[in-house]
Amino acid sequence: MATQDIIRRSGTSDVTPAAQARVGGVKQVAKLFDATKCNGCKACQVACSEWNDLREEVGSFQGTYQNPASLSPECWTLMKYNEVEADGKLHWQFTHSACMHCADPGCLKACSTAGAIVQHANGTVDFDSDKCIGCGYCASACPFDIPKISPVDNKAYKCTLCSDRTAVGLEPSCVKTCTTGALRFGTREDMLFYAEKRVAELKDRGFTNAGIYNPAGVGGTGMVMILRDINDPESYDMPKDPQIKVSTELWQDVLKPLGTAGILATAGVALLHRITVGRNIVEEDQPGYRAEDHEEDNQ
């Protein structure tokens, strides 16, 4: 039975969209990461692995508190650590790094397989591993470099926003476990309302550049962040103005239609040529051809 809460499917033409009945009816959700309240404890990271049964290899020290070194098929949430000097002070900034659940997801746009990436009515972007063929288009198209392809089973993996939990009214496991209230979960509307209030508080506390990271370039995100300095998201390892990549757009929006047209046109011209000009034969080689006949003609 179809859940009917999938409002967008990868690899599907706009002419034949996914079920739209619940668009607008189901409220969009968001996870809010308040970097100004995060103490970098990694509880979210561990809770993610615990709930989703992920076990990355035990690595080794790489010169940073950040472990494992990057997101991976076995690590869907990763705390990142950055030492930043700004306004004459040292800041040790922590980033809760996981899928941003873009309203306009580059991964979904790039996906090669019908329905392998879907967007739920609540805005969550989810991967269907049974359908995934492991082409990696999502991994390269993501403006946040989130999805990772497993070398073991060749499938793409990333944070699902605990869609199995949210489907039954629970918050994602990372939010559940956050020690300082830096992570919250609710409707996008509520989270943005709260975030605005929080930013106002921060400004009162002297964080004059505090702001909400909810990049418009990808239509807004299902993970909204509150950053100390919204003008410098790069210091949190977040892109300043993330957008669906030009390469992805050229590929899906320009090359596909033009290429299709080109292929069809070439085939069409060939067919037309064949019909109009006809066969190109070497007469001498035709059965029944006699050179003498032609020699007479020539005389």
Binding site: K37, C38, N39, G40, C41, V46, F61, G63, T180
Partner: protein, 794 residues
């Protein structure tokens, strides 16, 4: 904690110093962010490293490890010279106005009464002037030159900004900001809390570190208040419970004393520890000491404890000196100990000076290790090149490994930092042959009893007399044990409802008087789970049980003035209203008394007030004084070069030779825990191992550049006691400090090295640390010692 975790949300200024709450207590730290967001609180972090707590601080000030006393005495000087003092509080609720004996003195780093030969004080002069009734003399105007207040002002006079900065390395500008933020809470409507942990205890003057902070809190009027107090953050889930149950070498459950050999009879002991009031009309709660003590003896010996035999007092061991683990290890090292039972600690990786400990354990005839994991202690005899180099063949120690349950595999109570006794149920059965510690220890006792009965032996009486009336003598249940701790009437078997019911005549038995009320006739009070908070101030009387008597904020009489009016109406805990006391918490005083008669909030003191002058209770002196760590990176004490470090330290034979100098080992080093790990336990936990797979040494960029060390390089860190190889983490979070005309670099090493776990094989930092420790407690100076560092050839 005098207060509790949730109460931190009521603070206006949170000072994290001598601890790293965000790192080591991330869940509790949530109340700090709560205070910051909803109470507009400011967070100040003072630490040698810019740590996880500092990452969220409004202000971070670096400090050289081991100079906290100088830092805080400077704060006191700032408060007193700028009159940012809650004078009403100081006058009424501290001993500021008490007159000190004329022969008390302080000169060149030493208090009066120092005996150079013994390295100890004759503390005679460290006391009040008494009147003819034996009461302390006071001058409420604070004008008398011998009053504590003036002596204190005189004592801290030396700690001006420049001097403090010169000792601590904290830049004056940073220091001023911290002083101002702390001082802002001297007003009646603002309160500060200090959160500390092992960052203060792990010093050769740990007790004085904490005491200095307590003095700051008294001067600001912050103790007994919502959002204030003196808040020790306990690391292990039940270290508070362990401490309550007599963790310290000279304590028994409930902080009553293990008798010394100078107290041959019960009467001697009770006389020595039952104080007389030092002011008229005092509650002087320790006057009940005999009730608690006799009830404890009744719990120990049961019907065998009678008035005729001093309730079995003779069977109690009597100490001649402090037998803490440092002393025991030294005795093992000298071959004076046959056997050792290690329970609840990975000793070989935890105790300072690992190389000495390896030799110490090798001298034992037998070692019993009770642990739920395969710890390095149980395998100390296995050679592990680099990490644990021993000559296995030469070690004759027989090791018994007894697997235990972990907390989730048994039911019982855990006491959190806020003194809440919270009952929990068994979550899973223990694997294999693991048994609860209580079952193992009972089994040993039963076997001992049998052996004594069959074969006889020396000193059979205590083993015979011990009260062990449990349903299954081999396996007492948590419920039985807890009910015994609560206490009961020995005639009726009725559970007491509070320690006020305990008697000194042997009619009550109580395993820990502070826990009385936790399991009453009404049942188990610790598994109550009503989180209703009627006042909105985080006081939830229906949630679990807080010792003592379900009181959530200690000394809460100090939340209001002498007339019973709250200093700040928004922080009302108790209040005198219409001729009676009302409030949201259990009063920490006799609520039948009127405000004036009950205006001595520190009821455990015979004078009822907080002590700015500590009398004879601490070995270093009645006022704190800055002493350098045993291993000082500046090699001198700028205040008094003749007395560099604490003069009353305990020096075991030969230890002087293990102390490094700054010439040989020029860098300061400190050790600490990481959020990702809990001691060594979680190095066996895959998810924790993934999140922090290996230890490292943190160092600042300047030092790294000088030494040609790049981030991630393998380095050799050495102290006078040994060396380790580990990888470098070069960071901006540590910085060189200017101290006494030189630059001090500090290195930091996490303490989670294991060579026998899921994490990458690593050296442990206790190879480097010194066994020298606090003279009062024996806690080693893990947080400040000297090392050298160099890039290692790979």
């Amino acid at each position: 904690m005098t207060n509790h975790w949730i109460d931190i949300k009521n603070s206006n200024v949170v000072i994290i110093m001598g601890g790293n709450a965000a790192e080591a207590h991330p869940v509790g730290f949530g109340w700090v962010t709560e205070a910051m967001q909803h109470n507009n609180a400011k967070l100040v972090v003072v630490d040698p490293r810019f740590n996880r707590s500092a990452s969220l601080a409004d202000h971070y000030a670096p400090i050289r490890s081991g100079t906290d006393i100088a830092f805080l005495l400077g704060v006191i000087r700032y408060l007193t010279t700028t009159d940012q003092v809650n004078f009403d509080y100081v006058k009424a609720y501290t001993n500021a106005s008490y007159l000190v004996r004329d022969d008390f003195d302080f000169h060149d780093g030493l208090f009066s009464g120092f005996d150079e030969e013994k390295g100890d004080y004759n503390k005679e002069s460290w006391f009040y002037q008494l009147d003819d009734d034996g009461y302390a003399k006071v001058d409420e105007t604070l004008e008398h030159p011998r009053c504590v207040w003036n002596l204190l002002k005189q004592h801290v006079e030396r700690y001006d900004f420049e001097t403090v900065s010169n000792i601590t390395g904290t830049p004056v500008a940073d220091y001023k900001v911290v002083c101002e933020m702390i001082a802002s809470t001297h007003t009646k409507d603002r309160v500060a809390t200090f959160m500390y942990a092992l960052g203060w205890t792990h010093h050769s003057k740990g007790a004085q570190n904490i005491r200095t902070m307590a003095m700051v809190q008294l001067i600001l009027g912050n103790i007994g208040q919502l959002g204030g107090g003196v808040n020790a953050l306990r690391g292990h889930a039940n270290v508070q419970g362990a401490t309550d149950m007599g963790l310290l070498a000279q304590s028994l459950p409930g902080y009553v004393k293990l008798p010394s050999d100078k107290e041959p009879t019960l009467a001697d002991h009770l006389a020595a520890h039952t104080p007389k009031p030092l002011r008229p009309g005092q509650t002087n709660y320790w006057q009940n000491y005999p009730k608690f003590y006799v009830s404890l003896l009744k719990a120990f010996w049961g019907d065998n404890a009678t008035p005729e035999n001093d309730f079995g007092y003779d069977w109690m061991p009597k100490w001649d000196q402090m037998y803490d683990f440092g002393k025991y290890l030294d005795m093992m090292y000298r071959g004076q100990i046959n056997g050792c039972i290690v329970q609840g600690v990975n000793a070989i990786n935890s105790m300072p000076n690992r190389n000495k400990n390896l030799k110490a354990l090798s001298q034992l005839k037998y070692l019993v290790v009770l642990d739920n994991l395969s710890s390095e202690t149980a395998t100390f005899w296995q050679n592990e090149p680099g990490y644990n180099e021993v000559d296995t063949a030469s070690i004759q120690t027989e090791v018994f490994r007894l697997p235990t349950t972990c907390f989730a595999e048994e039911e019982g109570s855990i006491v959190n930092s806020g003194r809440w006794m919270q009952w929990h149920y068994k979550g899973a059965n223990a694997p294999g042959e693991a048994m609860a510690d209580s079952e193992i220890v009972s089994g040993i006792l039963m076997e001992l009893k049998k052996l004594y009965a069959e074969e006889g032996g020396r000193l059979p009486e205590p083993v015979k007399a011990v009260n062990w009336e449990y349903t299954d003598k081999h396996n007492p249940s948590s419920i039985e044990l807890t009910k015994e701790l609560n206490g009961y009437d020995v005639n009726t078997g009725r559970q007491v409802s509070s320690f006020a019911e305990l008697k000194a005549d042997g009619s009550t038995a109580c395993g820990c008087w502070l826990y009385a009320g936790s399991w009453t006739e009404q049942g188990n009070q610790m598994d109550r789970r009503d989180n209703h908070d009627p006042s909105g101030k985080g006081i939830t009387p229906g949630w679990a049980f807080a010792w003592p008597v379900n009181r959530r904020v200690l000394y809460n009489r100090a939340s209001c003035d002498v007339n019973g009016k709250p200093w700040d109406p928004n922080r009302t805990i108790v209040e005198w209203k219409d001729g009676k006391w009302e409030g949201i918490d259990v009063p920490d005083f006799n609520a039948k008394l009127n405000p004036q008669d009950s205006a001595h909030p520190f009821i455990m003191q015979p004078e009822g007030v907080g002590r700015l002058f500590a009398l004879k209770l601490l070995k270093e002196g009645p006022f704190p004084e800055h002493y350098e760590p045993v291993e000082s990176p500046i090699g001198t004490n700028p205040l008094h070069p003749k007395v560099v470090h604490s003069p009353v330290l305990r020096w075991f034979e030969g230890v002087k030779d293990t102390i490094g100098t700054k010439e040989e080992f020029p860098y300061a080093c400190t050790t600490y825990s990481l959020t990702e790990h809990f001691n060594f336990w979680t190095t066996h936990c895959r998810l924790a191992a993934i999140s922090m797979p290996e230890t490292f040494v943190e160092m600042n960029e300047t030092l790294a550049a000088e030494k040609g060390i790049k981030n991630g390089d393998l380095v050799k860190v050495s102290s006078k006691r040994g060396h380790i190889f580990t990888k470098a983490l070069v960071t901006k979070r540590l910085r060189p400090l200017n101290v006494n005309g030189q630059v001090v670099h500090t290195l930091g090493i996490p303490r989670h090295g294991s060579h026998n776990a899921l994490t990458k094989k690593a050296y442990t930092c206790n190879v480097l640390t010194t066994e020298m420790g606090d003279a009062n407690t024996g806690v080693p100076e893990y947080k400040a010692f000297l090392v050298n560092v160099e890039k290692a050839e790979v």
